[in-house]
Subunit: 417 residues, 2 copies
């Protein structure tokens, strides 16, 4: 397998050291708008000099860097062909999903992303009805992918991604009927400022966080999707492994759109443990129009306020040395167990920043997002997972995924509630 | 008097209809970086067709528009000479003070601004000691202005400006000794959004508001200046004419630097009735680094986050139709009266947005800032106020100013406390 990894940001730069230990692929071309960023990721891996377990290829033969504009569909198609890539691994902001997705289809390559094509609110009733939903543009093109014999595996990070695998696993192996599937994400991470004091610094792309948190959250219920006001239905969820209780609110997220397509459940929700401070920051950005992606003009130059917010904050990928704590992603399932009794479980995956920094030099949140698509690519490379068209993670057998994840040294857990 | 008015923003565009009713000047050249903005202000006045009381000049002969970059000192000097202007009236952000101030000196014109040259915090003890203070750069050049026989009247808006005139008036006519001079600014203005709901929209330049609110506030006490943490010493002040109690906090402002140079007082403070919501917005902007004027790079283009914040919010000058309420600026003096008894007065100026919109088509806050420098220019044009060097409003006799303000139809008030 030859992979075109588009995006050398937080997740992209964590993918390389994870993949470097595995031997399922021949080559990864790391592509970024800023070529020097892609080169830095490759150089770091070459300097580490680590070879795949049992492999004989040196890192300098398995990784290379190119400049690529993710919004330039023709350039991406050309890069896939020039580098003879079998799959495009999309690790950039979801606003670039569609050009990358179409470029892969045009080049005859498979496609993987960790966030689906963007939504647009309902024009008149945004907090009741969905408008264009996450992934709608991608699913609309599923017939073309099927006809071409290609696979687009969408939403294959941690959330969405592992969370969807957990939902399918619960349906296949733990439950007879499922009342509710609730994805719950929380952390106790703190970031120290240069002065040693705790500081405000988002641990994941603020661009994407704004997108998912300020759009109307979507809920699956009674066989259909509806939307609510941002930050609705606050609830305190007790996260495992010492993280403890965190206030979570409804957020627009892919799992709610993906899970019901393959798994039968009365209700599907996604709640994010943002915390009061982060919610206040997001509300303020919205109040000031700084969440907007519509350009404003500054002395003749057009810039998007949201891009400026992202550029003003520290790059989340660089925070690892100053972070402490753990992050947890998981899926809470309530229903009737195989024995006919009520059952409630939380399937989860926790990453300790100290561990991910020591083992991979990557901070916990981006490492956790990066590991699952690498596992999925390995299953595809080995032919364990196969498919055609546009598919979510829950379209595949979850068992080999969860087994292989353990082999990657990052086990998942299950808590009966 | 021929005037070069630099800046056709909120205050600049309110200056024109105020000045148009008066006959003390021959011509105002309205200059802006964006020529169309300057032209729009002039065209609006020409369309209104209003002539000065008793004057025979038509507006089209008294106002003209040019493009001018306020940061280009040589271009400003050339414009002053080309248009034979006697005075430069600075109505742009204070970051342009120094090039404009130096250009006026070079061209042999007088100079007036409404906010002094910028401060820089103390490098090691920013919340205890002042670093470079507001106006320091300007006062340092006072000898050159004196030698050239020119006048730079600095801080001559409403606050600073009228507030300083009030301080001098109290010292000259109301008090024997003054314990404290506290400038207090508050409003009950609300802005309606397009949906008819109250919305967040600053009624004055957010660029300047960030500058003054996030810098360490300065206090004059015991014969010297010291600084505090932003938003320190909150206090509820009861504003007159139905505005009522508003929470005020210490803010860095020119009056604290100007008043003690000419008026003897034990303590001088400035507190601004920001309100809890605005304070939270400013704190959040600071937390995210969006208050910064240091450019960030977005795909090769350098932009200042603070400029983007300003561009994302509605132009304060355009809010008048959607605003309701009153704004109050004033000076609270405590000390010993002429009769030897303790005395406490609040000298104030209130503008009702409904009135300023009806009378001048300008919203209350920018109108209130614009009227006082026009009154001052009239006093200078008529030779009632005279001076050399760099002087604040309190360097002049306050009585003719306060009398002429009444003639402008916007009376001031006094409340014994």
């Amino acid at each position: 397998m030859r992979i075109l990894l588009v995006g050398a940001g937080g997740v992209g730069s964590a993918v390389v050291p994870i993949a470097a230990r595995r031997d399922f692929f021949q080559h990864i071309v790391v592509a970024d708008y800023d070529r020097s960023r892609a080169e830095a990721v490759v150089s770091k891996q070459v300097a580490a000099g680590r070879r795949a377990a049992g492999g004989d290829l040196r890192p300098e033969d398995r990784f290379s860097a190119i400049a690529l504009d993710a919004s330039d569909e023709a350039a991406v198609t050309a890069a896939l062909r020039e580098h003879r890539c079998d799959v495009l691994f999309n690790a950039v902001d979801p606003r670039f999903d569609m050009p990358l997705f179409r470029a892969a289809l045009a080049a005859g390559a498979d496609y993987l992303d960790m966030a689906m094509s963007l939504s647009r609110p309902h024009p008149s009733r945004p907090y009741e009805l969905p408008g264009v939903k996450l992934g709608d543009e991608q699913f609309a093109m599923s017939p073309q992918w099927e006809a071409a014999g290609g696979l687009a595996l969408v939403g294959m990070g941690v959330e969405p991604g592992l969370a969807d695998v957990f939902a399918r696993y619960a349906a296949d192996h733990l439950f007879d009927t499922i009342d509710e599937i609730g994805i719950r994400d929380g952390a106790n991470l703190v970031v120290e400022g240069p002065d040693g004091q705790e500081t405000f610094a988002p641990t994941f792309s603020i661009w994407t966080t704004i997108e998912e948190c300020l759009n109307p959250p979507v809920v699956w219920e009674d066989g259909g999707w509806h939307t609510t006001e941002p930050f609705s239905e606050p609830e305190v969820f007790d996260f495992p492994e010492g993280i403890g209780p965190v206030e979570c609110v409804n957020v627009e997220h892919e799992e709610v759109l993906l899970v019901p397509r393959w798994v039968k459940a009365g209700r599907v929700t996604f709640k994010y443990g943002l915390g009061a401070e982060f919610i206040e920051v997001l509300r303020t950005l919205h109040k000031l129009g700084l969440d907007s992606t519509e350009p404003v003009r500054i002395r003749g130059v057009a810039v998007s306020p949201r891009d400026v917010v992202a550029a003003s904050l520290p790059d989340p990928a660089t925070l690892g040395e100053r972070m402490r704590g753990k992050t947890c992603a998981g899926t809470w399932i309530k229903g009737t167990g195989r024995d006919g009794e009520p059952r409630e479980v939380y399937l989860y995956h926790v990453v300790d920043n100290e561990w991910s920094m020591r083992e991979y030099g990557a901070q916990a949140v981006v490492w956790q997002t990066a590991v699952h698509p690498v596992v999925a690519l390995e299953l595809l490379a080995r032919g364990v997972w196969r498919g055609r068209g546009v598919l979510g993670p829950e379209a595949f057998d979850p068992v080999p995924f969860l087994e292989l994840l353990n082999e990657y040294g990052s086990p998942w857990g299950m808590r009966e509630q």
